[in-house]
């Protein structure tokens, strides 16, 4: 095994972790969103390395594109870059949260360490991860879940419209008074 792939992976992973941390820590929500974009892009590159070009493109367009644009749009709309007041309540939660997450990671690390070494990665099959292969699977084995996602999206769409629609309060004057 040459070192090159490992170095590439290490660099990408470092960028991903760093951008994730920055997203979590930065006080300005716009920065957070932009760091998240970096994170998503890096992960997309990882997908490419893992032989999932279609998913990588999807990641860029849907996540880094559509969803993050939506985020930034809402941030701008609401003016939610910064929260006005400094944190007062639940101060005690922060250290507890850090400890818990570290414990979680430690447990995960323990499981990795205990687990048997994985079998050698198989050679990439022909057409692996191509849109054609993916589409074939999607429209045969996963046809029903695929169709179902359309319903999900429809429900989400209607939900969004209902939630954000401004209640129209037209106070119509009675006809008699309008005539005067």
């Amino acid at each position: 095994m040459t070192a090159a792939p490992l170095i590439i992976f290490a660099v990408l992973a470092a960028v991903a972790v760093a951008s994730g941390l920055a997203m979590m820590l930065s006080q300005n929500a716009v920065y957070s969103a932009l760091f998240l974009v970096i994170n998503f892009t890096v992960v997309a590159v990882l997908f490419l390395i893992l032989g999932a070009p279609f998913i990588a493109m999807l990641q860029i367009t849907v996540y880094a594109g559509a969803i993050m644009v939506l985020f930034i749009f809402v941030i701008m709309l609401l003016g939610g870059e910064r929260l006005p007041a400094p944190q007062q309540r639940l101060r005690w939660q922060q250290p507890l949260a850090v400890v818990l997450v570290l414990a979680l990671l430690a447990l995960a690390g323990y499981v990795f360490a205990q687990g048997a070494a994985p079998a050698a990665v198989l050679a990439e099959p022909q057409d692996y991860g191509s849109p054609a292969a993916l589409g074939l699977l999607l429209f045969t084995k996963y046809l029903f879940p695929f169709e179902f996602t359309s319903l999900l999206l429809l429900v989400a769409m209607i939900g969004v419209v209902v939630l954000t629609a401004v209640e129209e309060r037209r106070r119509r004057l009675p006809r008699a008074s309008r005539r005067t």
Binding site: L90, Q93, L96, V101, A103, L104, L107, Y110, V111, Q114
Partner: protein, 691 residues
């Protein structure tokens, strides 16, 4: 084509459901189209079944719809039996039913419960088809009860008749209050007695045969032969009780005249053409048993003949146009019952068919007459009983179509050559003659004499009716202003009139189409030989009746509505006896109804109220219970149990909720922390287990 058989039921059921679900949104036109199409579809299917039978050697075909009851030995599937007998009945029910549906869509025009009427009619057709199409006695019973229910619903269709809002409706009987509902109830209760007999017969069959399938029963009795004679006698006598109920024979015929409270299409469909003939069908279906029970056969024949004679005489003295036809129906049903009792199953079925034609025709024409007079009464604001023949007269020129078809129907009923009634009635009389004169049974002679007398009175009362209704001068303003009914009503009349003329072709002597057709269902179904002597006597009897009627009623016409009947002087007190319907209703009232009511009242007041309620219940049960309850609620419940649980609840409140309340902070992030805590804990647990 046999696989289409279930459709014969599906069509009317679809009609019921469509009108039930959507009837309120549809106008009369569509409701009646749905109703007629449902029956028409069933008729089409029945025709196809008949063709299929003819094309496949006339063998009975069974069509399994679903399994119904399977308990041990008892197997009662929903199974249709397509054989020549059932197909004949299906054709009759759906064919005549369709014509009556068409007529009803005109007759019921403007009624507030138009859709309901067609729902009931289609439901009736469904039940009737189950009755005649079923392959076992249980299915027959389901249909039997179904038609009974529909009959009850339709007799009381104008259950509010007599109230001011309903009195103005077209064709409505101006009876007081809930008279129609009472008539429906009477029919239902009287029929219950018959049904009881049928049920007992079914129990007997299942007990001894172990099956209710027609084939199995037939096989059992064919194999057992004379050895099962006693059993067959018991079963058939019980069946006879059922027949008496449904087909209005002595002693259970009293419900049929009252059933005329229903709308006229109902009288025609249910109480003349189809339902009341179910008894004849039942006897024909159970022919194997009756053949083994000569005693039962004799009783059946005598009951039928006596009924024919008695009802025929009562019809002589009635003034209500529909009531005359009702007694005439009872009388003709008596003919059929007598026929099947004498073993003349083909003759009975033949008369059943022709009678369905001309009696439906007569009822529908009577409805047309009532309709016309009602219009007249409405136009002149005259308050008359529109069904009373005394206020009619001279309608021949006002309602020409109705007059001609009525005349055809009356002649057919009177048995005039060559109309349908002549052939079928003659066949019955020939069978009676054969049993009495050739085979030498005394009851054959008696039956023949009774039936001949009934035939004489038939001709007489039909002549009387025709003359009273259509001839002479109008005896009221309403009759003077009557007019012909709409084509929607007269068209079915013309078709039925044609059938009444040509119906005799079904089983013409020497051809015997019906006989050879029914023969395939059962070897007992044989047509008797044509007897020229009997035919001659019948014709003479019919002509004598008509001549007598002509002499009594036409030559001395009734001039005013309240004049005495022309027959009254000749008969004297006899006429009052006939007019009072032999006082059978009064007899039942005195012997059964009133003692029953008195007994019920004494049981209710003396035993139930005074003794059980006031005495035992109040002083023993209630007082004791109250004491016990006071004890339990006071010392036991309030002091011990209540305090215990109050204390328990208080402890929980103090210990638990005060402290646990704090956990619910309302902060989402707090809850998320809880989730992560749980994840770590569960993961930790699994990891620690794996170590």
């Amino acid at each position: 084509m046999f696989e289409l058989a279930p459709l014969v039921l599906a069509f009317p059921i679809a009609g019921v459901l469509l009108n039930l679900l959507f009837g309120r949104y549809l106008n009369e036109r569509w409701i009646s189209i749905i109703g007629v199409a449902a029956v028409g579809g069933a008729f089409g299917v029945a025709v196809l079944q008949a063709l299929a039978l003819a094309g496949s050697g006339y063998h009975a075909h069974l069509a399994l719809l679903a399994n119904w009851i399977e308990v041990g030995q008892l197997q009662a599937p929903w199974q249709l039996r397509v054989d020549t007998l059932s197909v004949t009945m299906m054709l009759l029910v759906t064919g005549v039913g369709m014509l009556i549906h068409i007529y009803a869509s005109g007759y019921m025009h403007g009624d507030a419960r138009f859709a309901r009427f067609f729902i009931y009619l289609n439901l009736f057709i469904t039940a009737m088809l189950v009755l005649v199409g079923g392959d076992n006695y249980l299915m027959l019973f389901v249909g039997w009860e179904g038609v009974g229910l529909c009959s009850f619903l339709l007799i009381g269709f104008w259950y509010d008749a007599g109230e001011p809002s309903a009195s103005a409706r077209v064709g409505g009987e101006p009876q007081a209050g809930a008279g129609n509902a009472r008539a429906g109830r009477k029919a239902f209760v009287v029929n219950r007695i018959g049904d009881f007999g049928l049920l007992l017969a079914m129990f007997m069959i299942f007990w001894r045969v172990g099956s209710l399938q027609f084939d199995a029963v037939a096989d059992y009795f064919s194999v057992q032969g004379a050895a099962a004679g006693g059993l067959a006698t018991v079963i058939t006598l019980l069946l006879l009780v059922g027949v008496c109920g449904k087909s209005a024979q002595i002693p259970l015929f009293v419900w049929l005249p009252d059933a005329m409270a229903g709308p006229t299409p109902v009288s025609a469909l249910i109480h003349a053409a189809t339902m009341v003939t179910a008894g004849i069908y039942l006897v024909a279906r159970s022919a194997v048993m009756f053949e083994l029970a000569p005693v039962s056969q004799m009783v059946v024949a005598l009951v039928g003949a006596t009924t024919a004679f008695m009802a025929g005489t009562i019809a002589l003295a009635q003034y209500d146009i529909k009531r005359v036809l009702a007694y005439s129906t009872i009388s003709q049903l008596g003919f059929m019952v007598a026929a099947v009792g004498l073993g003349g199953y083909v003759a009975g079925m033949f008369h059943l068919l022709t009678h369905a034609f001309f009696k439906a025709l007569l009822f529908l024409s009577a409805g047309s007459v009532i309709h016309g007079v009602e219009h007249g009464a409405h136009a002149t604001h005259a308050h008359v009983d529109v069904q009373d023949m005394r206020v009619m007269g001279g309608l021949r020129s006002k309602m020409p179509v109705t007059f001609w078809v009525y005349l055809i129907g009356a002649l057919a009923l009177a048995g005039v050559f060559p109309l349908a009634g002549f052939w079928s009635k003659d066949e019955i009389l020939a069978d009676a003659w054969h049993v009495g004169m050739v085979e030498g049974h005394w009851h054959g002679v008696l039956v023949y004499v009774l039936l001949a007398l009934a035939a004489l009175s038939t001709a007489l009362y039909m002549t009387r009716q025709i003359i009273l209704v259509f001839f002479g001068a109008p005896r009221s303003e309403a009759a003077a202003h009557a007019h012909e009914s709409a084509p929607l009503m007269t068209a079915p009349l013309v078709v039925l009139a044609l059938l009444s003329v040509l119906g005799g072709l079904l089983n013409l002597p020497g051809w015997h189409a019906l006989g050879t057709w029914l023969e395939h269902t059962h070897e007992f179904f044989q047509t008797g030989a044509f007897n020229a002597l009997v035919a001659g006597i019948s014709t003479l009897v019919a002509l004598a009746g008509i001549g007598l009627g002509y002499r009594v009623y036409f030559l001395a016409p009734r001039t005013t509505a309240d004049a005495a009947d022309a027959l009254q002087p000749a008969l004297g007190p006899m006429f009052g006896f006939l007019r009072g319907k032999w006082f059978v209703d009064e007899l039942y009232d005195a012997v059964i109804v009133r003692p029953f009511e008195r007994g019920a009242r004494s049981l209710a007041f003396a035993l139930d109220w005074n003794f059980w309620h006031d005495g035992f219940h109040n002083s023993v049960l209630a007082a004791g219970f109250r004491m016990l309850a006071a004890f339990l609620s006071g010392p036991v419940d309030k002091t011990v149990i209540d305090r215990l649980f109050d204390a328990l609840a208080g402890a929980v409140r103090v210990v638990g909720s005060r402290n646990l309340q704090r956990l619910q902070t309302g902060y989402v992030r707090n809850y998320a922390l809880g989730v992560v805590l749980g994840v770590v804990a569960v993961m930790g647990y699994f990891v620690s287990r794996s170590i």
